[in-house]
């Protein structure tokens, strides 16, 4: 039991020691962006959760709660689905303001960033 707890503690400390740079829970999306000639998308959870409860995006709009598991195209967004439900020029800036979402550093992988990301046993 002590060994188990120690192991878990070591895991937590290894995660916690990761240098903090991006804001906790920032998401980078780059499945298609750079292939399409634009910067990766940065999605800041902190900005959105001040304005919307989790349920709005993760229930009503259908975003699965796992980075990289949502296959979303700009066509769908322009049709008012996913990000486009708000990013339509009424609730938030419209989808033709490309650079505001596609604001990431080139070369970044899709993933969730921020200091306390669960890096867990699955990635050791």
């Amino acid at each position: 039991m002590k060994f188990l707890i120690g192991f878990i503690c070591a895991a937590i400390m290894a995660v916690a020691a990761t240098p903090v740079a991006a804001e906790y829970a920032d998401v980078v999306l780059n499945r298609r962006a750079e292939k399409g000639g634009v910067r990766p998308v940065v999605f800041p959870h902190w900005f959105h959760r001040i304005r919307f409860q989790c349920r709005v995006c993760h229930d009503e709009l259908g975003f699965k709660m796992r980075v990289g598991s949502n296959e979303i195209t700009m066509n769908e967004i322009s049709d008012g689905k996913f990000c486009g439900a708000c990013h339509n020029g009424e609730i938030a800036w419209s989808a033709d303001r490309c650079d505001l979402c596609h604001s990431g550093k080139p070369g970044l992988p899709t993933g969730i960033f921020g200091g306390h990301e669960t890096s867990g046993p699955g990635r050791w």
Binding site: I12, A21, E23, R39
Partner: protein, 178 residues
């Protein structure tokens, strides 16, 4: 044995977007996007994550995030606590449905990854640390897994109060002995 807290968990300030390592400092958005500090410094402070107590922020009305894009739709709140983890060395877990349903819809957790029946789910810290179960959110977007005693908050009869290591603020949620 304790594992939480320590200087590695401490983060005292929000990083400007141009230095955060994920925004392109040469991009046109860098001067237009809101800086985290501008928004988050006005919310109830925390020692970890976004340095914000998000549950306190919503419960005190400091923020009023919308429950739906459809007008008039209210959040369904369930005020029910579940006591979990009655064995083992750590204090038991008090799972508050209320604080979760203030943000989340029932379908976000039920029936995947959790069956809606107390005792029917085999929880594992290994799974959670790997980003499954509670770790889908805790450690990614809600308070991180360094905050053991925010979940393991109920000291059982015969258990001694966990010892707080030097330098760890009490805000890390070490429970009171009953």
């Amino acid at each position: 044995m304790l594992c939480c807290g320590g200087p590695a968990c401490a983060q005292s300030e929000w990083m400007p977007l141009r230095k955060d390592g994920i925004h392109d400092p040469k991009g046109p958005a860098i001067n237009q996007l809101q800086e985290p500090r501008e928004a988050l410094s006005k919310l109830p402070p925390d020692t970890t994550g976004n340095l914000v107590r998000w549950v306190e922020a919503i419960e005190t009305g400091v923020i009023k995030p919308r429950a739906s894009l459809r007008p008039g739709v209210q959040a369904t709140i369930l005020d029910q606590d579940i006591l979990l983890g009655l064995k083992g060395g750590m204090p038991s877990i008090l799972f508050p449905h209320k604080r979760h349903t203030e943000w989340l819809a029932c379908v976000n957790c039920h029936e995947i990854p959790f069956k809606a029946q107390a005792g029917a789910n085999k929880l594992s810290m290994f799974q959670i640390l790997a980003g499954e179960q509670c770790g889908i959110c805790h450690g990614a977007v809600s308070f991180p897994l360094t905050e053991c005693f925010r979940c393991h908050s109920v000291v059982r009869p015969g258990q001694t109060k966990p010892v707080v290591p030097l330098g760890v603020p009490l805000s890390h949620g070490v429970p009171e002995t009953k």
